[in-house]
């Protein structure tokens, strides 16, 4: 009955194999036809186009089995997903049958699987293909408009002057957007760890986590990055990897164990959870009042994919001087920045509109600052926040903590 044992993400192979693997999962959506997912989907809220819905993403598999559609007919539709996971949470199938049958609607995995099938069949989205090729060449993502040029030579430029060691038991992994664009985030991360007395080092040679390539369907490329990173960690004796980017957190806790099985025995630490602990234990005194009125943007991959919404709020409430106007994390199931799942590369117009709406929601609360815990969300949100007549500034949670800890 349950297809969870087999349908474990991108496997490659023929359309027929793909359909066999996903037919029951697809039918479970098709047969209920609730479509409760639709109005929480950040893409659907903008395009209002039924072919961009999780329902269609599943129904297409049934239609493929019936010979009504082929991968070539639908590959482009599957660009329209940020991988936020809201649809899975809102699905009554997940809510009401999950415990007994260990069943969960897994639209995000299905989308990845279809994208992988498309690539296997030689169907490429031009933007994604260029992005992955460029990532393979530079070993980091071709982050646009960055403060430092993207190359292995410059992958540690963000840490200039911080005197950070290489290697050790604990590694701070810095994602590409942080390394080359919003360098203030990894700098804040490193300063916070040092101030709290957490020993850590950087990788000898850090490559992209591979998550974006995996999400765009280029699974083999993604595995190459993963292999390199794991080997690098192993070579320096690392046991623990700290990540601040939720996308990396997904890669290391979902993709890597899937690639490597038992061999993957690293402890993956999410920065914001460690941060909450450091503050709670008094290891990071927050002494400087921050005179801002803020709301928190629940990072999709933390809130919707991993159920992590308490730690960021605990951190914000610990900052003196801050006025925190919170919006319930369940209400935020339907919020997104639009920056995930490769959407900004193929449909930057949609990313911009999704971000505009998110900033609009923040503006209704009369805040001056939108705090996020996802570095990838911060670029489109910052752009939209800055365009407003009454601008809203976007700060990363680590940036605002660094301000309060006197580390900025």
């Amino acid at each position: 009955m349950s297809s969870t044992e087999r349908a474990d993400g991108p496997a490659g192979g023929t359309e027929e194999e793909f359909v066999q693997e996903w037919r029951n999962a697809a039918y479970n959506c098709y047969s209920s036809g609730h479509k409760f997912c639709r109005e929480v989907c950040p893409v659907m809220q903008v395009t209002r186009n039924e072919v961009h819905t999780p329902t269609a993403f599943h129904a297409n598999v049934v239609a493929m089995e019936k010979g009504l559609l082929s991968i070539a007919d639908v590959a482009r539709d599957y660009v329209h997903c940020t991988g936020c996971g809201a649809c899975e949470l809102r699905c009554p199938n997940t809510l009401f049958t999950g415990d007994f049958y260990r069943f969960r609607t897994r639209t995000v995995q299905l989308v990845k699987a279809v994208r992988a099938l498309a690539v296997d069949q030689g169907i490429h989205q031009p933007g994604w293909q260029r992005w992955v090729e460029e990532t393979s060449r530079q070993k980091s993502e071709p982050v646009l408009g960055g403060e430092v040029p993207v190359s292995q030579e410059h992958v540690r430029d963000w840490a200039a002057g911080l005197d950070l060691p290489t290697g050790g038991e604990t590694i701070l992994f810095c994602d590409c957007e942080g390394a080359f664009h919003r360098t203030s985030v990894p700098r804040a991360a490193a300063k916070i760890l040092k101030a709290a007395g957490v020993e850590f080092g950087l990788m000898r040679e850090q490559w992209c986590c591979g998550g974006p390539a995996a999400e765009m369907g280029y699974v083999e490329r993604a595995k190459e990055f993963a292999r390199h990173n794991v080997d690098d960690w192993r070579a320096v004796g690392a046991k623990r990897i700290i990540v601040f980017d939720p996308h990396d957190y997904i890669s290391f806790t979902e993709d890597y164990p899937n690639y490597f099985g038992d061999e993957f025995d690293f402890e993956i630490v999410l920065f914001v959870e460690l941060l909450a602990e450091l503050i709670r234990e008094g290891r990071l005194p927050l002494t400087n009042p921050v005179d801002r009125v803020v709301t928190y943007h629940d990072a999709c991959r933390l809130n919707k994919r991993k159920g992590i919404h308490a730690a960021p709020r605990e951190v914000l409430r610990a900052i003196p001087g801050l006025t925190f106007k919170d919006v319930d994390h369940v209400t935020q199931w339907s919020y997104c920045s639009g920056a995930g799942g490769g959407l900004p590369i193929e449909r930057p117009d949609l990313t911009a509109e999704i971000s505009r709406r998110r900033v609009e929601r923040a503006a209704e609360l009369d805040v001056d600052t939108l705090v996020s815990a996802c570095v990838w969300s911060e670029r489109p949100l910052t752009e939209q926040g800055g365009k407003r007549a009454d601008p809203i500034e976007v700060l990363d949670l680590l940036e605002i903590v660094a301000l309060s800890a006197g580390l900025a």
Partner: protein
């Protein structure tokens, strides 16, 4: 599929009307707008794929598309949420699907005269997210509340779970703009004033254009009722040792006269057995619990508090045992998620298989409920004897009328169908069973459908019988308003209106 009338020049014209970004002729766009949740014979999907899909943004665009369709004699099928449980949105003769989802704006909020004016593509949950900050809500609350759209609610004349208190779609939509089958735009209401709830002027056209399943036009704007956001909600679930007691108690609760009572729902023994067997979210109860009755109240705290006391007393005095706050509040709060919860049913040998949910509904008077129930379960049992792909998931009966919920009940039997194994023979048997179910409803003085619409295969055959002399009026209205049979042709047997050729 028949030869398409939608040629490239027609598509160019559609692009001229709706813009290049809002016309879709690709396979995926068309295949995904062929179906509704249920019942849809998945093995016949290919027969229902439209030729082209448009997503207009204005009433004028909708009007121009319909006029074009008349010029070229192309069928037009309106589509809002596509969440209906009858097949109003399924294209029977291909043609142009007019998908109104992009028309989802709130146009005016009037807190003085208590109305909100919207486009038809807006969803009620989303609308209420905007309204709640003003202390008002639009209380149209179907099981599909998180996904169905206002346009479809009008097209099907929808039923609301809290309609006993606040009314159903027909009571909550004050007036609306509709594109007629020939393309003219008109407003209909109770008389002419757009925000007037009661009028004696002229014919009551609002009702004519409610529940027509897309055969009389496309709604393009609607003025909706606003009610104060309720201060208090109270839900109480009662258990009973047998159906007879539960049924009598349901009647007593419904006749209580409590103005805050939003609805009473009766779960029969089959439903309880099914929930015990296959609904993991159902909180188990002792074996001697055979039926459950659910009730809910809404209003001000001053009304609901004493009303709740009286409701509990009636429940207990008529043989019910209160099931406690956890079940009452939790089950009621999850009422939307729990429609069609299962993604599985069972073969007779106990094997679990993925099944889809098919719901047959009818309006049945309280006195007739026990007899109808026996006959309906027998029909489904006989079906299950012949085909292993059918599974009886039990019955609900909900108080049906608005504001005075005591006389008749939305009665439904839920049937699981293993569609992956569906073939023509099983489908034909299912259609026959649906016809038999409808015949029972009519024989007991009821109506084939309380909320879904009665245009699905099987039951639709009995619509002329139910309507009697009204059936001829329906045909005349259809032919006058839609002389070329453009709007959703093939639905509701309305081809009979043209049997001597188009006028």
């Amino acid at each position: 599929m028949t030869a398409t009338l939608v040629t490239d020049p027609v598509i160019d014209e559609l692009i001229g009307i709706c813009g290049p970004d809002n016309v879709f002729a690709d396979k995926s766009s068309r295949v995904n707008r062929a179906r509704v949740p249920a019942p849809f014979p998945v093995h016949r999907w290919a027969e229902h794929v439209p030729d082209v899909v448009v997503l207009p943004t204005t009433a004028e665009q909708v009007s121009e598309v319909v006029k074009l369709a008349n010029r070229h004699r192309i069928p037009v099928v309106p589509r809002a949420g596509g969440t209906g449980l009858t097949d109003g949105a399924v294209p029977l003769r291909q043609g142009i699907v007019v998908d109104v989802k992009l028309m989802n704006k709130i146009l005016e909020l009037d807190l003085d005269d208590r109305t909100v004016t919207v486009q038809p593509g807006i969803n009620m949950l989303k609308l209420n997210e905007e309204l709640q900050k003003y202390g008002v809500i639009y209380p149209d609350d179907p099981a599909s509340y998180p996904c169905s759209l206002v346009g479809g609610r009008i097209g099907t004349s929808g039923w609301s779970l809290i309609g006993g208190r606040y009314g159903h779609t027909r009571d909550l939509v004050i007036s609306f703009q509709i594109v007629l089958p020939t393309g003219e735009l008109i407003w209909v209401g109770d008389g002419g004033g757009r925000k007037v709830r009661k009028s004696s002027t002229g014919y009551q056209l609002k009702h004519l254009f409610m529940g027509h399943q897309g055969t009389l036009g496309i709604v393009t704007e609607a003025v909706l009722e606003l009610v104060p956001r309720p201060e208090a909600e109270f839900a109480a679930f009662f258990s009973y040792p047998d159906y007879e007691t539960a049924w009598r108690s349901t009647g007593a609760l419904a006749r209580s006269g409590l103005a805050t009572l939003a609805g009473v729902v009766l779960f029969d023994e089959w439903k309880l057995a099914y929930l015990r067997r296959d609904d993991e979210a159902y909180i188990p109860q002792p074996d001697d619990v055979r039926c459950v009755v659910a009730t809910a109240m809404y209003g001000t705290t001053d009304e609901v508090r004493p009303g709740a006391k009286r409701l509990l007393r009636i429940g207990k005095d008529t043989g019910g045992a209160y099931l406690g706050d956890e079940i009452s509040q939790g089950d009621w709060a999850s009422r939307h998620d729990r429609y069609a919860t299962p993604l599985h049913g069972r073969l007779r040998d106990g094997q679990v298989v993925p099944m889809s949910w098919h719901c047959e509904d009818a309006s049945i008077n309280w006195t007739q409920l026990p007899a109808v129930r026996e006959k309906w379960h027998d029909i489904v049992a006989r079906l299950g004897d012949r085909f292993r792909i059918f599974d009886d998931w039990g019955m609900f009966a909900y108080t049906n009328a608005a504001f005075k919920p005591w006389g008749d009940y939305l009665t439904e039997i839920d049937v699981g169908i293993w569609e992956q194994e569906l073939d023509d023979e099983a489908w034909d048997a299912w259609v026959t069973a649906k016809r038999d179910i409808a015949a029972v409803s009519i024989a007991h003085g009821g109506s084939i459908s309380a909320c879904h619409g009665a245009c699905r295969a099987g039951e639709v055959d009995l619509v002329p019988e139910e309507m009697g002399g009204g059936w001829d009026v329906m045909k005349k209205v259809k032919r006058v308003l839609d002389p070329l049979n453009i709007m959703n042709p093939g639905k509701y047997l309305l081809d009979q209106a043209y049997e001597d050729g188009p006028s």
